[in-house]
């Protein structure tokens, strides 16, 4: 775990004139690690993930993915990552299967593509629905479609913005296991955000806590619990939030 998958240095993102998205944020994600960003609504998780995914440009500071600058060489960065957006949907009139085929065809071709599509279909496990138009899907079904598509693309770095929101209990557990499996089996680095502390505790090697665009704590779940004197991450979160509020 020495190579660095993501290096974020003094990252600032200001929307418009004054709305602060991220404020002087620095952290690193090691290769093959699962790193979780947590924090209250509006703390800057999505902003950070979008910048790393080359969707938004930083106001200042720098971000490297496997040593490649996201602003200078976005195309090279995109070839190493895949990104599950906060609100991932799919083309309404495509079938789920066609959506997978389309997205994966931007990365693979020929037999490799067939294999990737098959893999995505297996992960999604949507049965007959895979051949139905996406507009007939429920929210959770759309989510699992998007999750399985990005997983099956097996990038070096997988960026997941709240991967399990909208999923039922069983599917959430299943997706967590899948993320773990892909991290283990294929050595995929995972950077995710989540509001579910159980999930974070179960999945991540390290956690970064964001508050108002700043990193206010970082460490393994164990370290965080110990330093806050808490029994679980939820408690850590609440304590940090209170302190953060006071500090501010």
């Amino acid at each position: 775990m020495d190579e660095q998958a993501v290096v974020v240095e003094k990252l600032v993102k200001i929307y418009g004139r004054s709305s602060i998205g991220v404020d002087n944020l620095s952290f690193t994600v090691n290769s093959r690690e699962i790193y979780a960003l947590v924090g209250p609504n509006g703390s800057g998780k999505t902003t950070t993930l979008r910048i790393i995914s080359t969707l938004l440009k930083p106001t200042s500071g720098s971000v490297y993915v496997y040593g490649v600058n996201v602003v200078r060489e976005p195309l090279r960065v995109r070839s190493m990552i895949n990104y599950l957006p906060e609100e991932a949907g799919a083309y309404r009139d495509l079938t789920g299967l066609d959506f997978m085929k389309f997205m994966l065809s931007l990365r693979f071709s020929g037999r490799e593509l067939d294999k990737a599509v098959e893999e995505a279909a297996t992960i999604a496990d949507l049965g007959n629905y895979l051949r139905k138009p996406v507009r007939t899907y429920s929210k959770g079904m759309k989510r699992i479609l998007a999750v399985s598509t990005v997983l099956a693309s097996k990038p070096k770095l997988l960026i997941l913005d709240e991967p399990t929101t909208g999923l039922d209990v069983e599917r959430s557990l299943y997706v967590r296991d899948m993320i773990r499996k892909y991290n283990n089996q294929y050595g995929i680095t995972v950077l995710l955000s989540s509001h579910n502390m159980l999930e974070v505790e179960y999945l991540s090697h390290r956690v970064g806590v964001l508050y108002k665009g700043k990193l206010i704590a970082e460490g393994t779940p164990e370290e965080l619990k110990k330093s806050a004197g808490a029994v679980n991450l939820e408690e850590v979160f609440m304590k940090l939030k209170k302190e953060g509020g006071v500090v501010k």
Partner: protein
Amino acid sequence: MTIVQLVKREVKAFIKNPGFIIGLILMISVYGILGNITGMAVESATKEFTEANIGLVLEEDTRLVKELVKLLNTTTGGRIRVYGSLDEAISEAEVGVVIPAGFTENATSLNKSVVLRGGVRVTTFSLTGAQARTSLLVVVSSTIERLLPLAISATYNVSLQPQKPVLMSSNILFYDKKISQEEFLSITAFISYTPLLVSLILGINATYAAQLVAVEKVEKAFEMLLAQPIRRRNIVLAKILGASIASILFGAVYLIGMLMFIGGGLNITTTVGTEQVSPITMIIGFLGPEMLGVIVSSLVIGLIFSGAIGVIIGSMVSDERIAGVLVTPVMFIFIGVGFLTMITGLSPNPASAVLAGLTIASLPYIYAISLFSGETFLIIYSIIVAAGVCSLLIYIASTIFNKDIVVLGLRIPWGRKARERM
């Protein structure tokens, strides 16, 4: 009354939609400008109408003819000039009318009819301009019709006779080609309507392209697409191509519909000499088969052009509703430009060539002008400008696709509040 609340919310959402406001401003200003230009064109056509000299050719020099010319000169405010031949009259005065030999006899015998020969020179494809010219002939013949009884009664000292119809067979000198009235009408109509039809397709294409981008955002597949290892420029080009294919399909169906609407359109024939010719064959014969090539190329260039504009609009808005509102005025602008070309025409000068290049729809028109006026550089100017504009638009669209705006949408302070409230 919950309905009032609901309607209030709808109206508020619409009015606070930045696209709506921008659209209104765009439309008002562009149509204002268009209106001014059209007004100027109509004014100059009217001026020409009331100030042009009328050339007369007298093949007969009777007392009646002398009297008639005198009356005619008085009624037209001294605009009558006499020439030796019709060709001379047309080239000097632009409008010429021949009082033929045997005129006096025909005018004074009961069962003979009066037929004049006339001609005008037209050096514009503009419908208003061309119509002003041809109607000048009609005015001359009807004036003669009115004045003839007066002239007869003055010449022969008889009581006022009833009016006798005066017919006019007219020829048109179109630039340097002699053509009949029917041919003239078909050609000017064809040349004038083509920009309108092309602009309509371009307007539709811009809408399709904007919608393609906006819908993708609404479907929420867009962010994932943007993170894939593909060049943004390729996304842009794909959208333009996709929209163009849809528009071409639409255009083809539209054209078939139009042909069906014209119905017997292909059966309408014109008499050229002794041959019966369909207007389409005639137009192609007159303008050359290259004309079709020019129309197709303008359509292709225009589709890239309008597709890029659509993509730019689509990439800056957050949903298809705003895209629709914003793209509607753009569509009207396209159609407005088509109308403008049709009504006012374009003069054969570099400014028109650049304008046609900037708006694409008028390219076939410029081609026709440059063909007839012999100023080949015009169409070359236009095409260079058009190609430049297209590349620039594609470049702008690709640049926008690399900016935050494509993910976040256009940020106008009051626009954001409206969106939050919705």
